[in-house]
Subunit: 207 residues, 4 copies
DNA sequence: CGTTAATCGAGACGGTACGTCAAGTCTTTTC
DNA sequence: GAAAAGACTTGACGTACCGTCTCGATTAACG
């Protein structure tokens, strides 16, 4: 039944603590020196681990940082705030808060940049970060539909396309505001943005 | 008065052709090897120039790539297509076409990533790329106002904030769709996105 | 009396075959990759043995190779060819034949080199290789004395010194010819060398 | 006429001081840590030079050590001591004195060992060390011939073969005595050895 | 028309990090 | 308790670029 992961392999098992320490050390190094000056040797030292141990588990800097950053986004959640507008504002603020942390800022765009020439890396980003958070959009919509704020979807394919569009707009806008425009994602901006998005969605539905 | 750019400095003047050749070589290298494998030595060789010459004019890889990529975005323009929706769709498609080119994909996100820890670099990006294209938003809006599609703005400060918001939403969404989701910005997606944006803007205005 | 090899010790007994396999694997590896690229991990793999087993019996590469090479020199013997000249020529040719084998060439000088900074290793080489073959000189001399080719020795201490000298001259000349000058030890050279040595010894004796 | 070595090549010329410092540092390191623990990084540090500078000029540890050791043997000379016996004893003592120095002991046998699997290295050793010192044999012989201690040679090819034989015997015996037998090359041993050699040569000539 | 001074090419330089490899140890389960 | 298996720490490897430097050789404007 569990044959894919044999109960016990021969030889000394991999230290479970090492992975944790390495990812934490990676984030620590991202905070202190940023992506481009981050070296795997330094990460290994910080984690109290040999460089070879690190290379045994990750194929390089890119993959390591994706995993280290992905854990940050697992904090995101969507508490029910009573209205679609409030839910959007809430999750946007959470997202912005994560992006404000230097370990995310430094690493995220860098691996996205690298992924433009590395399909495996892009897939890893998609699987570890993007897809893992996309459920928030689906959850928010279904709540809004229950509340009657949005009409029930008819075509499931169309629904998936819209979810993707919303995700691109929300994530893209917040990232661009934060990293490119370098302006704060404060309550005022979030209200404007959520208003724009909400009107777009509801008007769009009736159009 | 001529102190800012002295008419003639003593000594041999800098070769005008060199700068052009270097920027072209940079884009060529970006296409072939991407950002992370791009080396200034290679760029110099491609440009038929000594490394010294390159360093005399740019302080490093980041600054060089910003300049090389910035030129790409100067192609953007906003021909009058008769309606706000058509104008938005047109410029989004143009923007997506540039982002589809490997010299832009590889370089743009990378320098943005670097800029999270380098204020001078971020300012250079803002000045060379972001601000230089933001006029498109202003131009589009004023056209739409003339056509009566959008109400005239009352508060100029509010107008500037809205222009920034629109820019972040448009640029962010297209970049995210292209580089993170890695899905094509085709006519269907553009229509959906422009619809969302347009409804958001007009409904927002009347709300 | 059985204390040296207790009939049954607790636990799994050491495999007797392992030592043989390891030494053979060492020689095999010496032939294929030479001393400097020989790794204990590779030897263990070739011998079908875990690295741990190897380290349990030898303290390192040097000791292992000394043992592996020493076995080669046990082939040397001194059949009675009827005259001192013929005996010298015979043993020199045998010695040269062993030195011509890659497992000896690669390993022998390397461990000698290491032994210049490792007294224990030098002693191991002396005991395993040098002293074990020095009896050939003594045997050859006593035969020549019986034949009347050499006068009987008077001072046993002087006799030991002369034996050492002969050994150094013979072994040194052959090694130097083979490994440094990289010229073949063919019959012509052996005849010249044996002639030189024989004249030196007999003239020296009468002088 | 001097086109083989162009007067000035383009680019920054190589530092002359670097080569000197590197070879001296190599010998220093040989003394302190020996061959097997000698690392090129350490040599570079000791020489106050970057590792790359070292690799730009030598292809590896072997070649570097050959050059470093070769310089030691340039001290050898053959002052006229009045008789062939005295000349031999003198040069043997000089040779032994060099071999007694740890920088020679550690390095010499090691590169010879390596050369058993590297033809280019063996050739380098031959050219830098062996051939460069072989003239001592030729010089000693011609002096002895002038003195009437040795008959004039008739066949030049035979003369060359004999010179090679003598070199192998002398160098081989001293090296073996010093490094393998690990016994001192003192005046007593040298007298015995020179006697053996001298008798062998003169008797050989009359045989 | 010959200074003069900054440019240009070339390439060596001191560094830093790379990703790999082997050494020798330690921690598992199996025999 | 020895053995096979393999993860572990350590440290050197040889390479690639970095950004700086030192050369001789141009190349203009200025005197």
């Amino acid at each position: 039944m569990q044959s894919s992961t044999p109960a016990t392999r021969p030889g000394r098992p991999r230290s479970a603590a090492a992975a944790t320490a390495i990812l934490a050390a990676t984030r620590e190094a991202l905070v202190e020196v940023g992506w481009s000056r981050l070296t795997l040797g330094d990460v290994a030292t910080r984690a109290g681990v040999a460089k070879t141990t690190l290379y045994r588990r990750w194929s390089g800097k890119n993959e390591l940082v994706v995993d280290a950053v992905a854990e940050l986004f697992d904090e995101l959640e969507l508490p029910d705030r009573g209205s679609l507008a409030a839910d959007i504002e809430g999750v946007v603020l959470q997202f912005a808060a994560i992006l404000a942390r230097p370990e995310a800022r430094s690493g995220l765009m860098a691996v996205v940049a690298e992924s433009t020439r590395d399909d495996a890396l892009r897939e890893r980003i998609r699987a570890s970060i993007v897809e893992r958070q996309k459920h928030l959009v689906v959850l928010g919509r279904s709540r809004a539909q229950k509340r009657g704020e949005l009409p029930p979807e008819t075509d499931p394919e169309e629904a998936a396309r819209t979810a993707d569009l919303i995700f691109d707009v929300v994530a893209g806008a917040v990232v661009h505001r934060t990293l490119v425009s370098a302006e704060p994602v404060d309550e005022e901006w979030v209200r404007s943005f959520a208003g724009l998005l909400l009107n777009g969605l509801t008007a769009d539905a009736t159009a």
